[in-house]
């Protein structure tokens, strides 16, 4: 290992030490009186040169707190329903535990919550009955991040339905959730409901706003077929159990078409995503600016 590689690994490891001291008081994390670990302070002295006004640990701490602030600020705005359901203190504890469990694996902070649903499903501070709810809420909220930036292909025209190879728009995410997490959008706190699993779709609406809807289990099977690509006949003519009624098929298909879920399957080569004309009646910028080069102020 080169010296440069070693130095960067040690620096990066130091960033992931828990947030402590004055740095922590500028976040929503639960208060803690614990000081920096001795290993953090020792590593700072080892690799960082003292400055004219700051010691080596104080200089390393500036990077350490910016690392945490950036991640906490970003993920905190991505899971508002989870925050409301858990309450602020438990939510931020979950976020701290999640981020401490492993660093981001994506170039964009939009993906920072990608592994949160699985983490929440086995979070040791949650009860056995809470975990499926936490998974379901986090998964549904992360799906809203996913559909925000997914591709869209050319929507099918009515005259093309009978002849073209079709596919489900990539921005339609299908979810099997162990609890009816969609109900939480209207709740201030948990309300006892039957513990049913639900199948859902989340998709990007015409104003770029994520929408969600429940799916019938048979409808979900038919959507799986559409996602694989094929003609209308291949989607609907193969047997499915239980067999839906013609009225059900008509209603489902009508809803898919009205929601813009059906695309013409790109023929070959590189698929060229379709970009809609901007609808200025909606907020044009919501969610775009996840990344930046600035640091966070400390007041």
């Amino acid at each position: 290992m080169s010296r440069l590689d070693q130095l960067q690994r040690e620096f990066f490891a130091a960033l992931q030490f828990p947030l402590r001291g004055a740095s922590r008081t500028l976040t929503y994390l639960p208060e803690s009186d614990e000081p920096h670990e001795a290993a953090f302070l020792a590593k700072a002295e080892e690799i960082i040169k003292p400055g004219p006004r700051l010691s080596a640990p104080e200089r390393l701490e500036l990077y350490h707190r910016q690392y945490w602030y950036r991640l906490l600020d970003s993920i905190g705005e991505d899971f508002p329903i989870l925050a409301r359901m858990l309450g602020e203190e438990r939510f931020w504890t979950l976020m701290e535990d999640y981020l401490a469990a492993g660093p981001s694996q994506s170039f964009t902070l939009r993906h920072l919550g990608e592994r949160l649903p699985e983490f929440a499903a086995t979070w040791e501070r949650a009860s056995e009955s809470e975990c499926p709810w936490l998974y379901a809420i986090a998964r549904l909220e992360y799906a809203r991040m996913e559909v925000f930036e997914r591709a869209e292909y050319r929507p099918v025209q009515p005259e093309e339905l009978a002849t073209c190879e079709l596919m489900l728009q990539p921005h339609v995410v299908r979810l099997a959730l162990p609890r009816p997490a969609d109900l939480c959008a209207e709740w201030e706190t948990f309300i006892p409901v039957p513990l049913a699993s639900v199948v859902m779709a989340v998709w990007r609406g015409p104003h770029g706003i994520p929408n969600d809807a429940r799916l019938d289990p048979v409808e979900a099977i038919l959507l799986d077929r559409l996602a694989a690509g094929g003609t209308l006949a291949s989607v609907f003519q193969e047997p499915v159990d239980p067999e839906p009624t013609p009225e059900q098929i008509s209603a489902w298909f009508g809803a898919w078409h009205a929601r813009g879920w059906i695309a013409v399957k790109p023929e070959s080569g590189e698929a060229i995503p379709f970009v809609r004309e901007l609808d200025e009646s909606a907020d044009p910028g919501a969610g775009v600016d996840k990344m930046g080069s600035q640091s966070r102020a400390m007041d």
């Binding site: 440069l4 130095l7 690994r9 990066f12 200089r59 990539p170 200025e280 044009p284 080069s293």
Partner: protein, 304 residues
């Protein structure tokens, strides 16, 4: 306040670092201004975008970007290339970046002289590179690969920093010059970052500005920052302070009327306030342009 040039020779940016394109005053394209820009179509020299915000497969970011591209010149500025990474570049990232380059037709592309990830784990920060000869070699190698792959001029920006390493073997300005020479890339000179680092590390910022190879400066950044009792943080949330304007004036004296962009990324005021602040830079570039040996057409393209 304008500063009289202390000599009348401008090195002028070599056009190969700007794709032969000469730009004037620009500002960062930021969400709070989208609606104003789209509806009012204000006169702006150019916009800089953060590449990573538009490296998506579809949706609202590309819808907005395409509308902006219909009206304005856009230059891409990245925060995730991490050319100082010891374990090399992320080629998936480069592929996405190149796809966006094709969309925006950016004349050059910039990113930061920093590192930021280890084995695919991301800091999402612009972390300081130790100023060592080993780091010069590795960073230059990464920048060469990136520029060759992207097939457009690449400029690297000096970052604000809050720490120095015991391993350092040279000054930051020596490191920057060594890297850009070895990589044969341009410089995005951030004079606010020089000021921030000079306070944090105790050096004379003019020593930095006076050492930069002027012919490689493709673009200049100006910005505000947050000053605390013992350190400064590069927050991009204030107007540009006078000492930074003085550094800017000196940079323009040395480099000529380089494309200049104001970064204002937090506590963002109205579009008009940001644009007015950015245009303050023109008083110095006007002096430089008037005394430059080959004055480019205002806002137009020059031959490569």
């Amino acid at each position: 306040m304008p500063v009289e040039p202390d000599f009348f020779f401008h090195a002028m940016t070599n056009p190969r670092f700007t794709g032969g394109v000469s730009l004037g005053t620009g500002i960062g394209l930021r969400v709070p201004h989208y609606r104003h820009i789209l509806s009012e179509k204000p006169t702006v020299g150019w916009f800089e975008i953060i590449s990573e915000n538009y490296m998506v497969d579809g949706g609202r970011p590309l819808e907005v970007l395409d509308r902006i591209l219909d009206q304005y010149q856009v230059v891409q500025h990245g925060v995730g290339l991490y050319p100082g990474n010891a374990n090399g570049l992320d080629f998936d990232h480069l592929r996405r970046l190149k796809s966006l380059v094709r969309r925006t037709n950016t004349p050059w592309i910039s990113d930061h002289l920093c590192w930021g990830s280890v084995d695919g784990s991301m800091s999402h920060d612009l972390l300081p590179v130790p100023f060592t000869f080993e780091a010069v070699r590795k960073t230059a190698e990464n920048l060469r690969i990136a520029q060759d792959y992207l097939e457009i001029p690449l400029a690297v920006e000096n970052v604000s920093s809050y720490a120095e390493f015991n391993d350092d073997e040279m000054t930051e300005w020596e490191f920057l010059a060594e890297v850009v020479e070895a990589a044969d890339v341009g410089i995005l000179l951030d004079v606010n970052n020089i000021y921030v680092s000079s306070f944090n590390h105790g050096f004379n910022p003019l020593d930095y500005v006076n050492f930069v190879p002027p012919e490689r400066v493709a673009q200049i950044h100006i910005a505000g920052h947050s000053k605390y009792e013992r350190f400064i943080i590069d927050t991009h949330d204030h107007a540009v302070i006078d000492p930074v304007w003085h550094l800017y004036a000196r940079a323009i004296e040395r480099c000529g009327p380089v494309a200049t962009l104001l970064e204002w990324d937090a506590r963002i005021p109205s579009f008009e306030e940001v644009w007015t602040e950015a245009r303050k830079s023109e008083q110095w570039r006007g002096v430089a342009a008037d005394t430059a040996p080959d004055k480019p057409e205002p806002g137009g393209h020059v031959a490569a």
